[in-house]
C-alpha cells in the first residue's frame, strides 16, 4: 500500500496538504458548533433572553455549519480528484509495465490475472484511497481535538467514554476476526458457484446426453447450501453492528447525564451551571470521539481487501522483463530475410529440463520452412525466440546476420509478420484489424489485397458494411476460421521480410488452407516463411521441414527425404494419412 502511495503526484500531495488544512478547519468548526448549540439552548432556557441574542447565536452556529459544509465540499472535491488521478496514473503505469513484460513473466501471472490487476484491483485501491484519505485524516484530528477539549472536565465522564470506546473496539476486533476471514471463503464459494454453473452451461450437451441434470443440480445445491449458510452467518453477525453501535451511543449519552446529575447534586451552587454546560458539550463531543473511532475501525475493515489488491499490483511492478532492448534500428548488413539458429538451447529460468536443445539451422531468403512435432516438442517456443518473446538460454538467434538481441525491438518487429495460433481480433472494423499497428498503413488497396490473399474476401464482402464491418472484441461475431483468416491478412498487409505462422491454419478446412497458401506463396515470393503446423498436409510442400521431438531437432529435409530418413516424421505422417495415401504421392 505504502509503495503505491509513491504514485501520488506533486499536485496530489499539495491537494492532500490543503485537504489536511481544510479538515482541521472543518473539525474546528464542527467542535465549535456544540458551544453555540449549548449557548442557544441556554438562552432559550433562561427567561428574559432577547430574541436577537438567540438569532445572533443561531447565525453563528449556522455559519459554523455552513463553513464546515463548504470545507467538506472542497475537501471532497480535492480528494475525489486525488483518488481519480492517483488511479489514472497507477493504471497507466501498470498498463505500460505489463506491455513491457516478456512472455515469460506474463505466463507467470496469467493474462486473466493481469487484467483483473489493472482493472478491479486499481478500482479497489482508488476506493480505499478516497475513503482512507477522508477518514484517516479527519478521524484522528477529531479524536485528538475533542479529547483535549473534554479531558479535564471530569474523570468519571472520561472513564465512561474510554470504556465505551474499548467495548466498541473489542467488538469490532471480534467482528474483524470472526467475519473478515469468512468473506474470503464466501468469495471462493461464489467462484465455485460460478464454476459449477459455467460447467453446466458449457457442457450443456454432455449434461443432457448423459441425463446428468440431477447430478449437476445436486452439485449446485451443495455449493448453494454452503454459500447460503456462510452468507447468512456473516450477515447476521454484521447486522449486530448497527443496533449495538446505537445502543452504545445511547448508553453513553444516558450515562453521561446520569453521572452529570450526581456531579451536579454534590457540587457547589456556583459550579453547577458550568458542570451542566460541560455535560451537554461533553455528550456531543463524546459522540464525535466514538464516531471517529468507528470510522477508523471501518478503514481497518476495508484495509485487508485493499492490501490484497495493492500486493497484487506491486507484484507486477516488482517484476522486470529479462529482455533488454538492443540499439540497432537500421539495416547494418546486406542480408535480408535470413534466419540462423546457432546451437540454440532454451529452458525456463527455474526449470530443470531444456525445452530446446542445441538447435542449429539456417534459412535463406525466400525459403519456406516448416516445423513439425508433437505437443511439447518445442516448435512454438522455437519460433517465439525470433521476435524475442523469450531469449535463448544458450546459443544465438540471428536475423539478417545479427543476433536478435542487438536490435531495437521496433526495428526487429517491423521485419516480421507474425500470426498467432489463437487468432487475435481487436475491437474495430475489418480494415482496422488488417491495417493494425505500425508499418502496416498501406491504404485501402493493400488492405483489400491482403484480405483477398488471406481468402477472407468472400465472407468480408458478405458482411453488412464489408471492410468497415465492426468486429467485436475477441472476434465473437466471427467463426474460428474467419478469425484466423483476418489475422493472416493482417500479417500480409505488412509485407514483411519474414512471415511466422504459429499453427495459424488449424481452424481452416483443408481446401481453404491449401488455396490460401498457394495464393500467399505467389504474393510473397521475396519473403521468408516459417510455418508451425500439426497437419502434414499443410507442410508437405515446404522447402525445408524441421522435425522436433522433445526439444531436439531430429530431422531436417523435404517431405520425401524425411519420409525415408526420419522415423518421427514418418510416424506423424502415418497417423494422419493412410499408407496407401502416402504411397499415392
Amino acid at each position: 500500500m505504502i509503495k503505491l502511495i509513491k504514485n501520488l503526484s506533486k499536485r496530489d500531495w499539495i491537494f492532500i496538504f490543503i485537504s489536511i488544512g481544510l479538515i482541521v478547519v472543518q473539525v474546528w468548526l464542527d467542535l465549535k458548533m456544540p458551544d453555540y448549540m449549548s449557548e442557544v439552548t441556554k438562552l432559550v432556557q433562561t427567561e428574559g433572553s432577547k430574541i436577537e441574542e438567540i438569532i445572533v447565536q443561531g447565525i453563528y452556529m449556522l455559519l459554523c455549519a455552513l463553513g464546515s459544509l463548504l470545507a467538506a465540499i472542497v475537501v471532497g472535491y480535492l480528494i475525489s480528484n486525488i483518488g481519480a488521478s492517483f488511479s489514472m496514473r497507477t493504471r497507466k503505469k501498470l498498463f505500460n509495465k505489463v506491455e513491457s513484460l516478456g512472455m515469460e513473466e506474463i505466463k507467470l501471472f496469467k493474462t486473466s490475472s493481469l487484467i483483473t490487476r489493472t482493472t478491479n484491483d486499481i478500482t479497489n485501491i482508488e476506493m480505499f484511497v478516497i475513503m482512507g484519505l477522508q477518514l484517516l485524516i479527519k478521524s484522528p484530528i477529531t479524536v485528538i481535538w475533542a479529547v483535549t477539549k473534554i479531558l479535564n472536565k471530569s474523570w468519571q465522564w472520561s472513564a465512561l467514554t474510554a470504556g465505551i470506546v474499548v467495548i466498541l473496539l473489542i467488538f469490532i476486533g471480534i467482528m474483524i476476526m470472526l467475519v473478515i476471514p469468512k468473506f474470503k471463503i464466501i468469495q471462493k464459494l461464489i467462484d465455485k458457484l460460478n464454476e459449477v454453473t459455467r460447467e453446466n452451461l458449457t457442457g450443456i450437451r454432455v449434461v443432457r446426453a448423459f441425463n446428468a441434470e440431477d447430478y449437476q443440480e445436486k452439485k449446485f445445491e451443495v455449493v448453494n447450501n454452503d454459500l447460503t449458510k456462510l452468507q447468512m452467518f456473516t450477515q447476521r453477525m454484521m447486522s449486530i453492528m448497527q443496533p449495538l453501535m446505537f445502543l452504545l451511543m445511547y448508553f453513553l449519552t444516558l450515562f453521561i447525564y446520569v453521572i452529570g446529575a450526581n456531579l451536579i447534586k454534590d457540587a457547589l451552587m456556583v459550579d453547577r451551571l458550568n458542570i451542566f454546560g460541560d455535560m451537554i458539550v461533553f455528550s456531543s463531543y463524546a459522540i464525535q470521539v466514538i464516531m471517529s473511532f468507528l470510522m477508523l475501525a471501518f478503514v481497518f475493515i476495508f484495509l485487508p481487501r485493499a492490501q490484497v489488491s495493492a500486493k497484487r499490483i506491486n507484484e507486477v511492478f516488482n517484476t522486470h522483463s529479462k529482455i533488454i532492448d538492443g540499439k540497432i534500428d537500421k539495416s547494418v548488413t546486406k542480408e535480408k530475410g535470413t534466419i540462423e539458429f546457432k546451437n540454440v538451447s532454451f529452458k525456463y529460468p527455474d526449470a530443470e529440463e531444456y525445452l530446446l536443445k542445441n538447435i542449429s539451422f539456417k534459412i535463406n531468403k525466400g525459403e519456406t520452412v516448416a516445423f513439425i512435432g508433437s505437443t511439447g516438442s518445442g516448435k512454438s517456443t522455437l519460433i517465439n525466440l525470433i521476435p524475442r518473446f523469450y531469449d535463448a538460454t544458450d546459443g544465438e538467434v540471428i536475423v539478417d546476420g545479427l543476433n536478435v538481441k542487438e536490435y531495437n525491438s521496433k526495428f526487429l518487429y517491423n521485419k516480421l509478420g507474425y500470426v498467432t495460433q489463437k487468432a487475435v481480433i481487436f475491437n474495430g472494423s475489418v480494415s482496422y484489424n488488417v491495417n493494425y499497428g505500425d508499418n502496416g498503413k498501406k491504404g485501402k488497396k493493400a488492405i483489400k489485397e491482403a484480405i483477398k490473399i488471406a481468402q477472407a474476401e468472400d465472407f468480408v464482402l458478405k458482411m453488412e458494411d464489408k471492410y468497415d464491418y465492426h468486429l467485436a472484441a475477441n472476434g465473437t461475431n466471427l467463426s474460428g476460421g474467419q478469425k484466423q483468416r483476418i489475422s493472416i491478412a493482417r500479417a500480409i498487409a505488412r509485407n514483411p521480410e519474414i512471415y511466422i505462422f504459429d499453427d495459424s491454419f488449424s481452424a481452416l478446412d483443408y481446401k481453404t488452407d491449401s488455396i490460401l497458401r498457394k495464393e500467399l506463396k505467389k504474393y510473397t515470393k521475396e519473403s521468408t516463411n516459417l510455418i508451425v503446423a500439426t497437419r502434414i498436409g499443410t507442410i508437405m510442400d515446404a522447402d525445408k521441414i524441421i522435425v522436433l521431438d522433445k526439444g531436439e531437432c531430429v530431422g531436417i529435409g523435404t517431405h520425401k527425404e524425411l519420409l525415408n530418413s526420419c522415423k518421427v516424421y514418418k510416424e506423424i505422417a502415418l497417423s494422419q494419412l493412410s499408407k496407401e495415401e502416402l504411397e499415392n504421392e
Binding site: 464546515s68 498498463f95 457442457g203 443432457r208 450477515q235 447476521r236 476460421g481 493482417r490
Partner: protein, 783 residues
C-alpha cells in the same frame, strides 16, 4: 462485502428497471412464501421506530430534571429570609429593644443612685445631667445615645441584669448592644453582638422541619448582607455556598434522584428493547433474504436444464452466470437492507410528523420547511451523482475492454508495433474515466456533509422560531427541546428512504433479469409420453425420413433429407468448419425437434420417446472436451452409479489412458484444473472413457483434429475404433481412413447436407466431396 450497513448515505448508481411496477410486483409475489416472517420483521421495525420516538422525550425529561438542580429556589430564599429576619424588622425591633434592655430610669433608680455610698459625686452629677438631657429631648434613640456617656456604676443600676424569655442578659451585654445600635452603620455587625442578645433576636426555630440555630441565622445574615445590591448570579451562588448547611439545604435547588433513576431505568429498557427489536428484525430479514436468494439460485440452476438448447445459442454463458451471482446478490442485499429501512424510516417519518403536529403546528411547519429546503438540494445532487456514476461505469467498461484486448493479444500488439497506438487509445479512455470518476466521486461524497448541514439548519430554525413562540407564551421550553429531537428524527429517515429506494430500484432491475430467465419458455413437457425404448432392446436401425430442419422457422437448412443406417454401420459426417455438422448431432440427440419428417430408432419415432430416453440410447463424445474441476475419477464416472474401481481401470486400460493417469501424483484422484498437466489429447481420451462407461447402443463421435500431439492422436483413434465396434455410429470425420471406410458419408456445407453416399460414389460424382477430398493431395500450397 456487506459491511457498512447503513452508515451514512452512500449513493451508488444503480441500473433502472424497464418496468419498475411490474418488477416489484413480481418480486413481492415471489416473496409470498415468506410473508409472515417479513410481516413480523417489519412490525419489529415499526416497534423500534416507536421506541425511537419515545426515547428523546424521556431524555429531555432527564435533562429538565437535571437542570432543576441548577437554579436557586427564590421563593424558599424569601421564606427563609423572612423567617430569620422576623425579629429585626423595623416594627418588631422597636418593640423588642426596650424589652431586652429593660431600662430602669425611674424614681427607685434615681433614689438608689443618689443615696448610694459607693457612687461618687461626680458620677451622681453625670446621672443628673443625663436626666436633664432626657427632659429636653426625649425618645429611645436619645436615651441610648446618652446612656453610653454614663459611668459603669450608674449603668449597673439602670441596666440591671435581666431575664428575657429565660435568657439572662447582663449589663455589659446591654451596653455592648447599645453600642452596636448606636454605631452609624447601615448594617449591624452581628458577630460582635453578645450571644445572649443574638439568642433573643434570632431564636432557634424550625423551618421546613430543619432546626435553624441562632448561629446559623447569624451567619446567614452576615453572608447575605455582604451581597451588593447589584449582584450577579455567580456572586449570589458563591455566597449561598458559604451558608450554613442547614439553611443551604432548604434553599438549595434539588435534583430528584428518584426521578433520574426512574428515567434512567426506563431509558435503558427502551434502548435495550429497541436494539433487540431491530436486531431481531434484521435477523429475520437476513434469514428471509438468504433463503429467498438460495431459492432463486436453485431455480435458475434447475432452469438451465429445462431450457431448449436454442436458448444457449443466443445467450452467452456470462449472461446466465451474472444472473446467478450478481443479480441474485443484488436482490438479496436490497431485501436485507432496504425493506426494513423503508418501513422503519417511514414509521419514524410519519411518527415524528404526527408528534410534531400534535405538539405545535407552527413549529412542525418550520421543521418540515427547513428540512425540505435541504432535500431539494439533495435531490439535485443525487441526480447529478447518478448521471456521472453511469458515465463512469460506461467509460470504465470501455477502458477495461481495451485493457483486456491488449493484454490478450499482447504478442500481436508488440510484433506489429501497436504499443504506441494502444497507449494513445489507453490514455484517451483513462482520461475519460478520470474525468467522470472524479465527478461521480465528488457528487456522491457531497451527500453526507449536506445531510449534516440540513440537520443543523433545522436545529437553528426550530430554536429561533421556538424562542419567539416561547416569549409570546405560546409554547413552553420543553416543546423546543422536543422539536430539536423531532427535526433529527425527521431528516434522517428521508435520506435513508431515498437510499433504500435507489437500492430497491436496482433490485427491481435484477429481478427483471432473473425472472426473464426463470420465466423463459421451457422445452415441451413430455410427461405424457409413456413409451420407453430400453437400451437392451435397441438393434441399431436409424432412419431419417424426409427430415426438414432450420434453427429459425423461416430458414430451413436441411431440406427433405432421408437416409438409413443399419445396425453396426458407420456414418461419417464431413464438411468444412462451420458447415453445421453439429446440427446432425442436435437432431439425433433430440436437442432440437425436426420441423418436418421424422427420425426413427428401430422404427420408433424419437418424437414418441422422452428426451431422456433418447439420450440414454446414445454415447456422445464431442471434440470440445468437457471436463470439470474435480478428480479424474469423478470426471470419468460422472453421473453413473455403481462403477467400481476395477471397471474404471479396465475401461481406462481399453482407452489407453490408464498409464497416464497412474503417472499423475494422485492417480485417479488427481484434480483436473486448467493447468497444463493434462493435454488436449488426454482430455479427449478421458471423455472417451466417460463415454465407454455409458456403454449405450448408439454412438456419436467427434474425431480429434489439430492441437493433439501425434502419439496421443494415435491412442485416441485406437480408442475411438474400439468404442465404435458393433455399434451404429455417427462420426464427425476428419480422418481420411474414417471417411473411406464409412458405410455412409453425409457431406455438409453451409448447414445443409448437399451430398450423401459411399466414398467411391461421391468421388465419381466429382462434386463438392471430391473437391474437398482431393484438396489434400494435389500438389498444392507452398510450392
Amino acid at each position: 462485502m456487506n459491511n457498512g450497513r447503513k452508515h451514512g448515505p452512500q449513493i451508488v448508481g444503480v441500473e433502472k428497471p424497464k418496468d419498475l411496477k411490474m418488477a416489484l410486483k413480481k418480486l413481492f409475489k415471489s416473496l409470498n412464501k415468506y410473508k409472515n416472517k417479513i410481516f413480523v420483521a417489519l412490525l419489529l421495525a415499526v416497534f423500534g421506530s416507536i421506541l425511537t420516538l419515545i426515547a428523546p422525550n424521556k431524555l429531555s425529561d432527564l435533562v429538565d430534571e437535571i437542570s432543576k438542580g441548577l437554579f436557586l429556589n427564590k421563593e424558599k430564599l424569601e421564606i427563609v429570609t423572612k423567617e430569620i429576619t422576623s425579629n429585626i424588622s423595623e416594627d418588631s425591633f422597636k418593640i423588642i429593644v426596650p424589652e431586652i434592655l429593660d431600662l430602669k430610669i425611674d424614681q427607685t433608680s434615681t433614689y438608689k443612685i443618689l443615696n448610694s455610698n459607693i457612687i461618687n459625686q461626680n458620677d451622681k452629677d453625670k446621672y443628673m445631667d443625663f436626666l436633664n438631657k432626657l427632659k429636653v429631648s426625649n425618645g429611645l434613640q436619645y436615651t441610648l445615645k446618652y446612656i453610653l456617656e454614663l459611668p459603669t456604676s450608674i449603668t449597673n443600676i439602670i441596666l440591671p441584669i435581666s431575664n428575657y424569655n429565660g435568657i439572662e442578659i447582663n449589663t455589659e451585654d446591654k451596653i455592648l448592644f447599645i453600642n452596636i445600635m448606636n454605631e452609624d452603620k447601615e448594617s449591624i455587625d452581628l458577630k460582635s453582638m453578645p450571644n445572649s442578645i443574638n439568642k433573643i433576636l434570632f431564636p432557634e426555630s424550625i423551618i421546613e422541619n430543619r432546626v435553624i440555630t441562632t448561629k446559623d441565622k447569624v451567619s446567614f445574615i452576615s453572608v447575605m448582607s455582604s451581597i451588593d445590591e447589584e449582584y450577579n448570579v455567580n456572586e449570589l451562588y458563591s455566597n449561598i455556598d458559604k451558608l450554613p448547611i442547614n439553611i443551604k439545604e432548604i434553599i438549595e435547588p434539588k435534583i430528584n434522584l428518584d426521578i433520574v433513576k426512574y428515567i434512567t431505568v426506563f431509558l435503558i429498557i427502551v434502548y435495550l428493547l429497541n436494539s433487540i427489536f431491530s436486531y431481531t428484525g434484521y435477523f429475520i430479514m437476513t434469514t428471509v433474504a438468504n433463503r429467498y436468494a438460495k431459492g432463486l439460485r436453485t431455480k435458475i440452476s434447475n432452469k438451465i436444464n429445462k431450457l431448449p438448447l436454442k436458448y444457449f445459442d443466443n445467450n452467452t454463458t456470462g449472461d446466465v452466470l451474472s444472473r446467478v451471482t450478481n443479480d441474485v446478490d443484488m436482490i438479496s442485499q436490497s431485501l436485507n437492507q432496504s425493506l426494513d429501512t423503508i418501513v422503519s424510516s417511514a414509521a419514524l417519518l410519519f411518527g415524528s410528523l404526527i408528534m410534531m403536529f400534535y405538539t405545535n403546528w407552527i413549529m412542525a411547519i418550520t421543521a418540515i420547511i427547513s428540512s425540505l429546503f435541504g432535500f431539494v438540494f439533495m435531490a439535485i445532487v443525487l441526480k447529478k451523482s447518478q448521471k456521472y456514476f453511469f458515465q463512469r461505469q460506461e467509460n470504465l467498461g470501455k477502458l477495461n475492454g481495451h485493457i483486456e484486448e491488449i493484454y490478450s493479444g499482447l504478442n500481436v500488439v508488440k510484433v506489429y508495433n501497436g504499443v504506441e497506438d494502444s497507449n494513445k487509445q489507453f490514455d484517451l479512455f483513462n482520461k475519460e474515466v478520470y474525468e467522470t470518476s472524479r465527478k461521480s466521486q465528488f457528487f456522491s461524497g457531497l451527500m453526507q456533509p449536506m445531510m449534516i448541514f440540513i440537520g443543523n439548519f433545522g436545529y437553528v430554525a426550530v430554536c429561533i422560531v421556538g424562542a419567539l413562540l416561547t416569549m409570546n407564551d405560546v409554547i413552553s421550553f420543553g416543546v423546543i427541546v422536543a422539536f430539536i429531537m423531532y427535526v433529527r428524527l425527521f431528516t434522517q429517515p428521508m435520506a435513508r428512504i431515498a437510499q433504500a429506494l435507489t437500492t430497491l430500484q436496482g433490485a427491481a432491475a435484477s429481478t427483471e433479469r432473473v425472472f426473464e430467465f426463470v420465466d423463459e419458455k421451457e422445452m415441451i413437457d413430455e410427461s405424457n409420453i409413456k413409451k420407453i425404448l430400453k437400451r437392451k432392446d435397441v438393434e441399431g436401425n436409424i432412419e431419417f425420413e424426409n427430415v426438414s430442419f432450420g434453427y429459425e422457422e423461416d430458414k430451413t437448412i436441411i431440406k427433405d433429407f432421408s437416409a438409413k443406417a443399419l445396425p453396426g454401420q458407420k456414418i461419417a459426417i464431413v464438411g468444412p468448419t462451420g458447415a453445421g455438422k453439429t446440427t446432425m448431432v442436435n437432431l439425433l440427440m433430440k436437442f432440437y425437434d425436426v420441423n418436418n419428417g421424422d427420425i426413427k430408432i428401430d422404427g420408433k419415432s424419437i418424437k414418441e420417446l422422452k428426451r431422456e430416453n433418447v439420450h440414454s440410447l446414445f454415447t456422445m463424445v464431442l471434440q470440445d472436451t468437457w471436463l470439470f474441476n474435480g478428480t479424474i475419477k469423478e470426471n470419468i464416472i460422472y453421473n453413473h452409479k455403481d462403477v467400481d474401481d476395477e471397471t474404471l481401470q479396465k475401461i481406462c486400460e481399453t482407452v489407453g489412458i490408464d498409464h497416464f493417469i497412474k503417472t499423475l501424483p494422485n492417480g485417479y484422484d488427481s484434480l483436473i484444473s486448467d493447468n497444463d498437466s493434462v493435454s488436449a489429447g488426454q482430455r479427449q481420451l478421458l471423455t472417451i472413457a466417460r463415454g465407454m462407461i455409458n456403454n449405450a447402443p448408439l454412438l456419436i463421435l467427434d474425431e480429434a483434429t489439430s492441437n493433439v500431439d501425434t502419439r496421443t492422436e494415435e491412442l485416441v483413434q485406437k480408442a475411438m475404433d474400439k468404442i465404435t465396434e458393433g455399434k451404429t455410429s455417427f462420426i464427425i470425420a476428419h480422418r481420411l481412413s474414417t471417411i473411406k471406410n464409412a458405410d455412409l458419408i453425409l457431406v455438409m456445407k453451409d448447414g445443409n447436407i448437399i451430398e450423401q453416399g459411399k466414398h467411391k460414389d461421391l468421388i465419381n460424382k466429382n462434386g463438392f466431396y471430391a473437391e474437398l477430398y482431393n484438396s489434400q493431395f494435389t500438389k498444392q500450397g507452398i510450392n
